[in-house]
Symmetry: C2
Subunit: 229 residues, 2 copies
DNA sequence: CGAATCTTTGAAAGACGTCAACATTGGTGG
DNA sequence: CCACCAATGTTGACGTCTTTCAAAGATTCG
């Protein structure tokens, strides 16, 4: 159980840091972060921030998963992204200095650090590596979203589910995918019932294995074919 | 005819510059741009860049309109964005220092300046206002794309057409919207035939006026209702 | 163990895409 | 300047994918 494993993570020894935006910080900056960040335990389904509120800093996921979503006009969620350990969440609004335009909620119990913007933004002026990293990250997300739009517009639900499962495989790494049917439907962009029927098809076709809510992709190669990519 | 109006635009007197990313440049920077940029006339349907090629700089639209699109796996275009006079195009790939992930093509004859990356990127290090402007612009586009995704996932084609027409109204300002049916369909994310049928409906409902390929929104307020927003 | 939530299935209706034929338009060369 | 052709736009018919609503089955958690 994560709650028992909870600890105040150290930035200097954090393995994630090398791979993410904070990889280029110098020692003085890391020490400053270390002293000023906070580190919190979140239960499943806790909100990190909501659409319309103002950012006070950025969240750095140490362990756990977070969905980033937007509510459509009828209140239905569209999941834009699922972030895992090592990823920074909520930096867009902080850089733009405007309200969040999406919401973020934990999908499982998580340890998440928080860096106040007063401790983060000044580094932008002094650390060109950080600045470049941020530009690249924003760029990468723009690219992802252009693909997302194109898939939404041109692919069938069946194809989108295949694409989504392949993406979720990356997020869940070795573990089986563990999302509610509703969240998965809101990621694929379909009705829950349609999603369930298609999962059944995939199972019968030997593409996936289902254990209650846990899903394992058995044949990623065939899945790629199904996705039409 | 634009071809006759073609001129080598001056950065220092360019009216667009005040409103776009280049608004915060200092005089020395403007003069440097002025001396190093080039300015070109494009016919309708000319490519500025294509998916997969590497950026050498950034395009600054002086006059005209440009579609930014991506090809899906079956070769069908999805239009992600339509840029008008004043907007910079292609900067994402330049900042990220990677290949374009989308293509850009003129929708009408246009005058477009080109700034080589060697003349642009160094300013990032020296001009914090430019840097912030870029962060904000990337942020804005990320927000737009999250909305785009949500609309694609949750709205009917009829609603998406209404949304698209309202967006296109902004792009075309006072002039009537002037896009091929295919481009419009590729923006809305639907089949050309479906688009045509819905345009007919809108016309019969008094929402729009159609003159061959030119479309005028007659009742934006009612259009907003139709869009479901 | 039981209530609440989440998941699954069925049936019916509708939205949308595809195919094929036809009409209109705009640009080109004679 | 006109006639013609290729490209673009339009319409109809049809099938199917997807959603919606309703009800029954599982799971989970207190």
């Amino acid at each position: 159980m994560l709650e028992n494993n909870f600890r105040n993570v150290s930035c200097s020894t954090c393995l994630h840091r090398k791979d993410n935006l904070l990889g280029g910080l110098i020692e003085a900056e890391i020490n400053h972060l270390e002293d000023h960040k906070s580190c919190n335990y979140y239960k499943k389904n806790q909100l990190l921030f909501v659409d319309g509120s103002y950012p006070r800093g950025v969240f750095c996921i140490n362990e756990g998963k977070v969905k980033i979503f937007k509510r459509g006009d009828e209140g239905k969620e569209q999941i834009i992204q699922i972030a895992k350990g090592g990823e920074l969440v909520g930096f867009r609004a902080m850089f733009a200095e405007e309200a969040y335009k999406v919401s973020a909620e934990t999908l499982e119990e998580s340890n998440i650090c928080f860096i106040r913007k007063e401790d983060f933004l000044p580094m932008l002026d002094t650390n060109p590596m950080l600045r470049n990293g941020i530009l690249k990250e924003l760029s990468r997300e723009l690219t992802d979203r252009a693909d997302f739009i194109t898939n939404m517009a041109q692919k069938s639900v069946r194809q989108r589910l295949a694409i989504s499962l392949l993406l979720l495989m990356e997020v869940y790494q070795d573990e089986p995918i563990n999302l509610s049917r509703e969240d998965m439907a809101n990621f694929v962009g379909t009705a829950t019932e349609t999603l369930i029927r298609l999962l059944k098809d995939f199972k019968e076709e030997g593409l996936i294995e289902i254990n209650t809510r846990k899903i394992t992709v058995l044949d990623p190669k065939k899945m790629l074919l199904v996705s039409g990519h």
